[in-house]
């Protein structure tokens, strides 16, 4: 991929911990960009439909990119700057979806 590469030893490199795994990022990026750059295409699951979701609007309006940061829930990744040592948990709704709360709307699917 093109663009700025994220290595933890690069100038401006920071390390974010995502579900316990160390993820390199670049100081100045948003969490959304840093996560996407490292292949995290799915950020959470919608609590009503159980579908996989990720960032959509990039400007804090849609709330699709909510992740947990340093214990704070429902942080919009598109507005959150990365910081060295950040602890990120993806998809708090993942547990609910797995418990069967989601998938209540099987008719809502992509063709």
């Amino acid at each position: 991929m093109g663009g700025v590469s994220a290595r933890s030893d690069a100038v401006g490199g920071v390390v974010v911990h995502v579900d316990g795994r160390a993820v390199p990022a670049v100081d100045g990026q948003t969490l959304l960009g840093a996560l996407l750059a490292q292949g995290h295409r799915v950020l959470r699951h919608n609590p009503v439909t159980g579908e996989a979701r990720a960032g959509y609007c990039g400007m804090g309006v849609c709330f699709e990119c909510e992740v947990e940061v340093d214990g704070r829930a429902q942080v919009r990744a598109c507005m959150e700057p990365v910081r060295d040592g950040q602890r990120v948990r993806l998809g708090p709704a993942t547990d609910e979806a797995a418990a069967g709360n989601g998938a209540a709307r099987p008719d809502v699917v992509a063709p």
């Binding site: 663009g3 990720a54 609007c57």
Partner: protein, 499 residues
């Protein structure tokens, strides 16, 4: 709820909501005119969307994307404006004058009361739903742009840019900058055909040069701009793997992509203006609501001025001028202006910008027919999982205004408060009933989700009242899916009501 050490109250001459181009110009000019000004913005830095800044190592390595915006933000601070970033305005107090906000730090409610208020809350992108638009990897053009320019991250390896509007072109170019293979730009309309109307654009040579630059860049990179094509569906599991496009004569083609940036222009954020009680009306070009205001942006509420895209979508140059005009109106309300005449150049620039906005809207008409084309199973309300079929059914049973349809279907009740679906819901209702509903849900507080714990932060149980102590509710977020953040239940607080 009584005021306490945790909640903060600020009294100023002018409160400006929104730190984008219009808000920054308005705040700076008002401060220079001698007013005490508080500028509030939800983001951690000033700039809004167009002037969203690079920071940190990205800034050092790749340079300042928007030096003009950086200068503006510096001028705002140098003028003595009290800048409150990472501060989300979510409501208006009972006095219809005090702005209610919470900070990301979560230290209680910030109440800012201005003798005058400038609302420069900008706009958000218009979405037209299609099957699969909720898949990871399908984003708005603005999202793809910010990822490319601010984060320097490609939204995908192979990406389509689609929808309608002049914005698609700079987005496609920005994607090329970060190494994306742009498989094509698919414009639903036909704005680039040479016809007589196109000649009107010749009166705006700088805009034409800008447009020509994008088209040339795309041509050099072999990226075709297709006209009359739209995304009929996206598919993939769990993220997008391909899109089906539909074009003239019903032709279809499938393209493998791992991202798609799809959007249809912008809609003004008028919710805060409506909470203040400002009169709004449908914009004849788009049917979106805009505030009723004069050339300076004065609304139907004395002392309340609208600026920038919140007045109606017209671009950053219009926003800058409207910010200056808003400062004039607010300064007049504060008695800070003598008999100074308004700079006629400002008014000329404003009129030219408005005329160009009307030309643009006519060139890129919103394709309402695409909403009609959405199959019943298409997701319309992303937050609450409401389909087009459910909205159509709700409309058919007589629930044919926006708020009743919302009540019957739950569309619009989620965290985004209908910002992503209101356009489509209104169009579905209109198509089913023939009536033209307002194209927004009635705004209500909180405009954005707020944690109960944030509302309660700093309130001390010892500020005793005659009412018996009641157990605190679980610290759920108001207006969105529940979540706890560690506040212990059972802590007595002196009543929990609207702040």
């Amino acid at each position: 709820m009584s005021r306490s050490a945790g909640a903060r109250h600020v009294d100023v001459d002018a409160v400006v909501v929104g730190g984008g181009a219009a808000g920054m110009v308005a705040a700076r000019d008002l401060a220079r005119a001698g007013a005490s000004v508080a500028l509030l913005d939800e983001h951690h830095e000033l700039g809004g969307q167009y002037y969203r800044r690079r920071s940190g190592a990205v800034l050092v390595r790749d340079g300042d994307l928007r030096p003009r915006g950086t200068r503006l933000a510096a001028e705002v601070r140098a003028a003595g404006v009290a800048v409150h970033t990472a501060t989300t305005v979510w409501g208006v107090g009972d006095d219809r004058r005090t702005v209610l906000a919470t900070r990301a730090a979560g230290d209680g409610v910030l109440r800012v009361r201005g003798t005058t208020a400038v609302v420069a809350t900008g706009a958000h992108e218009r979405s037209v739903p299609f099957p699969g638009w909720q898949l990871p990897g399908v984003v708005t053009p603005g999202c793809a742009l910010h990822l490319a320019t601010i984060d320097r991250v490609p939204v995908g390896r192979r990406t389509a840019v689609a929808g309608s509007g002049p914005f698609l072109l700079p987005v496609a170019c920005a994607l090329l900058d970060v190494g994306v293979e742009v498989v094509g730009v698919f414009e639903a309309g036909r704005p680039y055909r040479p016809d007589r109307r196109a000649l009107d654009a010749a009166r705006y040579p700088r805009r034409l040069v800008e447009l020509g630059g994008y088209l040339a860049r795309l041509a050099r990179a072999g990226v075709r701009v297709h006209q009359g094509w739209h995304v009929a569906a996206a598919h993939g599991d769990p993220a997008v793997e391909g899109i089906r496009l539909r074009g003239p004569g019903g032709r279809e083609r499938e393209i493998a992509v791992d991202a798609a940036a799809v959007g249809f222009g912008f809609r003004p954020n008028t919710e805060l203006l409506a909470l203040f009680g400002a009169e709004v009306r449908p914009d004849p070009a788009t049917w979106d609501l805009v505030p009723v205001c004069d050339e300076l942006g004065r609304t139907s509420v004395p002392g309340l001025v609208a600026a920038g895209e919140a007045r109606g979508v017209a671009g950053v140059h219009a926003a800058t001028v409207r910010g200056a005009l808003a400062a004039v109106a607010a300064a007049e309300h504060l008695g800070l202006r003598g008999d100074d005449e308004i700079d006629p150049r400002l008014l000329r620039r404003a009129r030219a910008a408005d005329a160009f906005a009307r030309l643009t809207a006519a060139r890129y008409p919103v394709p309402h027919r695409l909403v009609a084309a959405a199959p019943d199973a298409t997701l319309v309300c992303r937050c609450e999982g409401v389909t087009a079929g459910e909205v159509r059914a709700a409309a058919a049973t007589g629930w044919n205004d926006m708020d009743a349809t919302k009540g019957a279907s739950r569309a619009g009740m989620g965290p985004c408060q209908g910002r992503q679906c209101a356009y489509a819901v209104a169009e579905l209702v209109r198509q089913r009933t023939g009536t033209a509903p307002r194209r927004v849900f009635s705004p209500q507080m909180p405009l954005k989700p707020v944690r109960v714990a944030e509302l309660l932060a700093g309130t001390a149980p010892s500020t005793a009242t005659a009412t018996p102590a009641v157990p605190a509710p679980p610290a759920a977020a108001v207006g969105s899916g529940g979540s706890t953040n560690g506040r212990s239940p059972g802590t007595a607080v002196p009543g929990v009501g609207a702040p």
